[in-house]
């Protein structure tokens, strides 16, 4: 599975030879190898973070735009041009004259040229306020992409207002607990066989362990903000994330059992060389992973911890300014990390889809399988998974907290154990190690290519459809999912005895 873009190796070899030749003969010569290693590692980390942040910028644009389009709205149209177009013709005047040493003149010239070419003075209409409502910006100006940058930068200029009686130490620490653990996950996620920050033997264990730290920070944030809403939000978050951590880990265990290793790169290599993606071998696992990941990153329908309806903003009500900005970015980083994990586990990471079919198309096959680097495939698959996340957010309401926990413990946990058993059976009985190299490990010796994944996929789809058909035409009297301490409805509403005095509510 040689992907031509081996970034890590290039970096190391290039720096190694450069430093050796440069430091040859100087006292530092024998340290050249070590310095090359350090420099290569940092550059690899920077490139991996760069790819991740580019993806993050993309999803922060795609989510609001796609959701707005589903809502029949135009969505964001702020584009680069708004930097020099100002407001409806009102601009900040010749502000560059204030830059010392006359260094502002080139900026002024650039501003004038940009306004002439595509700004106030040009024929390209910028986004007017009201009169051309239907116009939503030229495509090449990436309408809406810049909005996330504007939101992010705005948080920097906001005043930091911690609540007076908050537990200041934990109030300050918990956002960084969440943000740092989220950024740390990127270190273990490979984007291609040659692009990764670090590739330890058990990288899956590392990644999921770090993924589980953030709920602790969420609970601390909720508790320390000295606000009843955030307290309830924090407790809900703690309960929900523990309820969904276990099915998630068991599902991932199933994948690792099937692929035979705890290393991301080996899992992907196994999927490629064995000839079938885990999606086809463990469709139940794919479904479980998506559901538990939506719950892990607290998105609708598992949105209870920050349910705007009753908890104002949930656990981050008391955070404003840059702390809230970073928490907001951290939430989307966790979503993006979840999408990449899903792509790597189930959709065969950086291996091109339909490799076999496209392979025998001559030039197109060569471009498809070899010329397109693995990173592009990983990103495309992650974006596809992200569309599922946004689709779920746009169409489903929130599930109540006790129903989330009930669903997690009573349905997902047994299902994930069943999925683990399926993985073990597939690995032991149907897997043929001889065909590993030639991509025919799953054809069951009959030569019919990947017989097993096809059968597994068809069987599980059939089971799913059979279960989802609702036999009884008129449904029984509606199911009740309300389990309350005091049976609901027993309180005779409006009975005069009800206490209606203002009482101890601290009214003025």
């Amino acid at each position: 599975m040689a992907d031509w873009l081996q970034l890590n190796d290039w970096l190391y070899d290039g720096l190694d030879s450069a430093l050796n030749t440069a430091l040859h003969g100087t006292p530092l010569a024998d340290y050249a190898g070590f310095m090359a290693l350090v420099l290569a590692a940092t550059l690899a980390c920077v490139s991996v973070l760069g790819v991740f942040m580019m993806g993050l910028g993309l999803i922060l644009w795609i989510e609001p735009k796609l959701w707005a389009r589903m809502m029949d709205r135009r969505g964001r149209t702020t584009d680069w041009r708004s930097l020099w177009v100002g407001e409806q013709g009102v601009t900040a005047g010749e502000w560059w004259n204030k830059v010392p040493y006359g260094l502002g003149r080139p900026i002024g010239a650039l501003n004038r040229w940009l306004n002439k070419v595509m700004g106030n003075a040009s024929k390209h209409p910028s986004v007017e306020r009201v009169n051309n409502r239907s116009w939503h910006g030229a495509w090449w100006a990436l309408p809406g992409f810049v909005q996330t940058i504007a939101d992010g930068a705005k948080f920097l200029t906001k005043e930091h207002m911690p609540p007076t009686k908050a537990d200041r130490l934990i109030y300050e620490i918990s956002p960084f607990l969440i943000i740092s653990s989220t950024v740390l996950i990127i270190g273990f996620m490979p984007f291609s066989s040659g692009i990764y920050a670090i590739n330890p033997e058990l990288s899956v264990l590392f990644a999921l362990a770090i993924f589980g730290i953030a709920p602790l920070g969420v609970f601390f944030a909720g508790w320390s903000s000295n606000n009843k809403y955030t307290l309830i939000g924090g407790i809900r978050s703690a309960a929900q994330l523990t309820a969904y951590e276990i099915p998630l880990l068991i599902t991932v265990l199933g994948v690792c059992v099937l692929s035979g290793s705890f290393n991301f790169i080996e899992i992907v290599n196994f999927q490629h060389s064995a000839g079938a993606w885990n999606f086809f071998l463990l469709p139940l696992g794919f479904g479980l992973f998506i559901i538990t990941m939506i719950a892990e990153v607290e998105r609708i329908p598992f949105d209870m911890p920050e349910a705007e309806a009753e908890l104002v903003e949930g656990w981050w009500t008391e955070y404003g300014g840059m702390r809230w900005g970073l928490l907001f970015a951290a939430e989307y980083m966790r979503v993006w990390a979840a999408c990449i994990l899903c792509a790597v586990f189930f959709l065969g990471g950086w291996s091109a889809p339909f490799a076999g079919l496209m392979g025998n198309l001559g030039v197109v096959g060569v471009v498809w399988n070899d010329l397109i680097p693995g990173v592009v495939w990983t990103m495309l698959k992650s974006l596809f998974i992200f569309l599922i996340f946004v689709w779920a957010r746009a169409s489903l309401p929130r599930v109540r907290t006790d129903q989330i926990l009930e669903f997690g413990w009573r349905y997902l946990l047994p299902l994930s154990v069943v999925q683990l058993v399926i993985a073990v059976i597939l690995r032991l009985s149907f897997y043929d190690p001889a065909g590993l190299g030639s991509g025919s490990a799953w054809d069951g010796g009959s030569g019919f290519f990947w017989l097993v994944p096809l059968v597994v996929f068809v069987v599980s789809m059939a089971i799913f459809i059979v279960y989802s058909i609702d036999e009884d035409k008129d449904p029984p009297s509606r199911p009740y999912h309300v389990h309350t301490v005091e049976p609901a409805g027993t309180h005779v509403a409006g009975s005069v005895g009800g206490r209606q005095k203002i009482g101890n509510t601290g009214m003025r």
Binding site: V496, Q500, I502, M507
Partner: protein
């Protein structure tokens, strides 16, 4: 054609309701009559003038025997120049609604034309007049119709007519720390710029200004 209670059924129902109340309460000075709306379909309704002392008895009878199960509204009116025996007025609007609890999966669909007897919906207007007094008091029907609960609170809050026997009487619309005797709908209070030009008539210092009020915006 649509759902329609014939005016004949309406008049018959009103007459029977008036007879029932008259037979029970005539001796006690409760005048009952069936009046008619002035415009539209000219529906007849039962109009009762009841001395405040008998209001509780009348209410209990109407609720449990007359089938009047809905208290629509209780209004208080202040008549400073209404002569010695008409200082305050409490008007209660009640309704008889053919509503019964339903079993799950069942719905009671009335056919307007075939309704008869006590099932015909009927409007009641009970007028209680109080003499000129500084402390108007009327017995409370909170325990009979739950709907009357917040109506009475609002009437005391805005007009100042007290309801004896009303639990947890509190201000519901005006701020909780309005001055003690301040009931705005009494006629001695005027609208601003209508014979009363003071900006706000209470100096409780509601207007706590924010800390950055002097800063440049």
């Amino acid at each position: 054609m649509g759902m329609k209670i014939s005016s004949k059924a309406n008049i018959a129902a009103a007459k029977s309701a008036v007879e029932a109340i008259k037979s029970r309460f005539d001796s006690v000075g409760v005048e009952v009559s069936s009046a008619q709306h002035a415009s539209g379909h000219k529906r007849t309704y039962v109009s009762i003038a009841c001395p405040p002392a008998h209001w509780l008895a009348l209410a209990k009878w109407m609720r449990f025997d007359g089938g009047v199960n809905h208290c629509s509204m209780i209004t208080g009116v202040h008549h400073p120049e209404g002569g010695p025996d008409k200082g305050w007025e409490v008007i209660a609007h009640l309704m008889r609604m053919p509503v019964v609890d339903q079993k799950p999966g069942k719905a009671l669909v009335h056919d307007a034309a075939k309704l008869s007897g006590d099932d015909v919906p009927m409007e009641y207007e009970v007028v209680l007049t109080l003499p000129q007094t500084d402390t108007p008091v009327v017995p409370s029907v909170q325990s009979i119709w739950v709907g009357a609960d917040w109506n009475e609170k609002e009437t005391w809050d805005l007009v100042g007519i007290d309801f004896e026997g009303h639990e947890y009487m509190m201000r519901v619309l005006n701020p909780h720390d309005s001055p003690q005797g301040f009931h705005p709908l009494q006629k001695q209070h005027h609208l601003r710029y209508h014979g009363h030009n003071e900006m706000y008539d209470d100096a409780q210092g509601f207007m706590r200004l924010p800390v950055d009020v002097d800063k440049v915006k």
